[in-house]
Symmetry: C2
Subunit: 482 residues, 2 copies
């Protein structure tokens, strides 16, 4: 039996020496080695794991180098105030929601929001109304919000205090945020943006716009997902219309009072990097991505989605299809119907390419300026030699999924007595848990919603495909009574 299972498991994985088309954005350290300043940081990283002493400031009472660095961050992104977060976008989402809303507030929230948003909704005792998400009918890729449903909801819920949207989603797809913000402003609602995957947005004209430039009231960005920063680092940006004192309190409450200086330094570096090199490096990366997309698509086996696919039919609402843009620094690598995205991810891993995540029909790959052309070529070769037979999988249609009916608010479920039962026996019961396949981290059912036949089928589908499903334990689900 191993006495150091975690250390040994991670060292074993490191020794595989995979090409990292996944998070974090520094790609095994390469992002630090790109500049002389980064090399110095890289070499001294563990020595930089210090505690608050004279001269290095205090994150919870910033008045020196941390304050200075946060001001540079704020200036670069164009916020009123920006914060370094050492507990990931999770802590940003908590602080954002606790600061902007009060108990009992109604909010409009995208169904596909991150689990941390929903946890905040529960703990802040909010009353959520969910905007439907679309799924691209041809590629089975989840898209951001359904415009028609969004318009309907905002008109029907004028008492809502604000809207929470994900921009972009895990696949890099963005809904037209400017449209959302203008509409919300007309209704006097705040717009909070979970831009966990968009810290690089705005760096190049070829990328979607930085949400702060579009007038978002609060924005959370993961630093590590796309920028050269250590995993678990994030930024919170505050725009207009927000009480900064409340933000100060909640940011401080949700962050360790022993923050990692390794994290803080890497966030300082990430902002420095994107500011100094972002435009040139991202323009270049996007060119490389486009060239390799063409090569991969020419194989005729897989299909990497492009901007033109965003304007294709998404359902019945053709006129809505100019509402989407995409992050050209990630691939949605689609497999034809009858093949498995999950199996493709596994195939790539065996071929020493680590993709970010998969769903039934797609593999998502995240690129950064630190990926070499050799790495892109290795991807091309692996895909070229892939035997499609090994990826075969019975096709399951994802399109019929509707939101279950809400019976009670998520926070009301928290204190009720729970009954654990077999998933199959739970039809018509009320779910006590959020059931979330991860990735992509989107809830199938939320606490307080009624479990329907379809709900059970979707959960079983993910389980069968070996996706980690939060909220299900050994095939059982927690339920409550009304």
């Amino acid at each position: 039996l191993s006495r150091l299972p975690l250390v040994e498991g991670v060292l074993k994985y490191i020794k595989e020496k995979n090409i990292l088309f996944c998070m974090p954005g520094h790609k095994g350290g390469l992002g630090f080695l790109k500049t002389t300043q980064g090399v110095e940081l890289y070499k001294n990283l563990i020595k930089g794991d210090i505690t608050e002493v004279d001269g290095v400031d205090n994150l919870h009472f910033a008045g020196g180098i941390i304050k200075e660095s946060q001001q540079l961050l704020s200036e670069y992104y164009g916020s009123i105030k920006s914060y370094f977060l050492v507990n990931g976008s999770t802590s940003g989402n908590l602080a954002m929601i606790f600061s902007a809303f009060n108990e009992g507030d109604k909010i409009i929230v995208e169904r596909n929001c991150h689990r941390s948003i929903f946890n905040a909704i529960i703990m802040r005792k909010l009353k959520p109304v969910y905007i439907k998400n679309k799924i691209h009918s041809k590629y089975d890729a989840p898209f951001p919000l359904d415009k028609e449903h969004f318009l309907y909801l905002i008109k029907e819920n004028r008492d809502a205090k604000g809207i929470i949207v994900t921009y972009p989603n895990y696949y890099g797809i963005c809904f037209d945020l400017q449209y959302v913000i203008e509409l919300a402003r007309n209704y006097g609602m705040l717009v909070l943006v979970d831009a966990a995957h968009g810290a690089h947005f705005g760096a190049s004209k070829l990328l979607p716009e930085n949400p702060l430039k579009l007038g978002a009231n609060m924005v959370v960005m993961s630093a590590h997902k796309t920028l050269p920063s250590l995993t678990q680092t994030a930024f919170l940006h505050v725009g207009e219309g927000i009480d900064i004192n409340k933000v100060d309190f909640y940011v401080s409450a949700f962050l360790s009072t022993s923050p990692s200086y390794m994290f803080l330094c890497s966030m300082d570096y990430a902002r420095f990097y994107i500011e100094e090199y972002g435009e040139k490096d991202y323009d270049e990366l996007i060119k490389i991505c486009a060239v390799n997309r063409k090569r991969i698509n020419s194989l005729g086996k897989f299909y990497v989605l492009g901007p033109e696919d965003l304007r294709e039919t998404l359902g019945n609402q053709d006129e809505d299809n100019n509402m989407y843009t995409m992050d050209l620094t990630r691939y949605i690598l689609n497999v034809p119907k009858g093949y498995s995205g999950h199996k493709l991810l596994q195939y790539l891993r065996v071929n020493k390419i680590q993709a970010e995540m998969s769903d039934s029909r797609n593999v998502v790959l995240i690129f950064s300026p630190f990926d070499s052309s050799q790495a892109f070529n290795a991807l091309y070769i692996a895909l070229k030699k892939c035997d499609m037979k090994t990826l075969e999988q019975e096709y399951v249609d994802l399109m019929d999924y509707d939101m279950p009916t809400t019976i009670m608010y998520p926070y009301e479920v928290m204190d009720r007595e729970k009954t654990i039962m077999e998933l199959r026996q739970a039809e018509h019961k009320i779910s006590a848990a959020a059931i979330v396949p991860y990735p992509p981290g989107i809830p199938i059912i939320m606490p307080g919603e009624r479990i329907e036949k379809k709900t059970i089928a979707i959960i079983e589908y993910y389980l069968r495909n070996n996706v980690t499903v939060f909220g299900i334990n050994q095939g059982k689900i927690e339920t409550v009574e009304k």
Copy 2:
């Protein structure tokens, strides 16, 4: 103007090459270099900054190497379940309090609890009753709870759901936890322990006992403060009488869904280290500490407190004085009245010795098995050659401090309109903020308490001594009306 203020500031500090008698416990990486397994981890640390991929498990859905490592942690400390925390003891205190108590619950809490405990009390809407803390009259060092007051409170508040205690405090002083737990059990109250500074307790017979062995219901420990683990890492241990499902939810809610594997690996390593080497290494360290204490005390200039001082008069209640024990791996280095602990800390820093923290009369130094005898000798030499004249400071008596009167509960203050005013003009007003000098991180006044003349004097004292005081901005304080 620096474009990388944080990185440059930290690198500058590293280049000072100070002896680290402070956190973190790995002492600039030495703790990893002590074993062959640690060296391997040290060398691969940044490469180990990976995301969740096949084979390395998922912290929020542990079923592989993380689960295995957490089980080893649980076995070592003797818990029912133990959790790795990547957001420090702060997240542990939040999760512990949210899991154990419900909104509106009355709790008994030590006045000297950590800021994160108080933030949790506010956010969980608890009704706190505070136990007074003692201050050692001869050395002006804060001691844990006042037994007489504790006995009075527990009898007067039989409806309280539980007790939260700090064990040990920042100075390494412990109140008799077994006594607290037995008494609480008789009253049907839970005992939650913030053992942030006690992750090494129980490793040697010369150290205070591990709180789980004494029957605590929940315990939070910082891994990094005393063990070889990276800053911001901590453990949460669950004992009897706690709903594990609730703990699972809140731990997950307060932790990043992109947890750092560098952190996770270092916690695996810290547990491995203390289990394999703890007893021998701590026995040895305590011997070295004792020898050097004697040498330092023989100088006749400073005084390092020892176990015999715990039994000296602490006030009027002589019979209570066998209630205290201390961590023999840290020094409370006392200066005589008329001299400044703060100035001594600064003097040591100039002499390339980084102490952990200071108050008006004391400097606290934290040792670990990775501190060399040369390092201890450097401390002795620095103290020997110290010119006492440079440490002179007018003596201010800390003994007269009483708790201000509670006018409303801390959470009730949150949504009231705040008025910012000069500290001096705030007499008789209700404080809207927790005013906390940091270190030592103990609140002078809590939200909802009445600001008294004495309160103002103490705050001004800390400000004058250049201690960071949370809650005061440019001499101003936030107040609310009843």
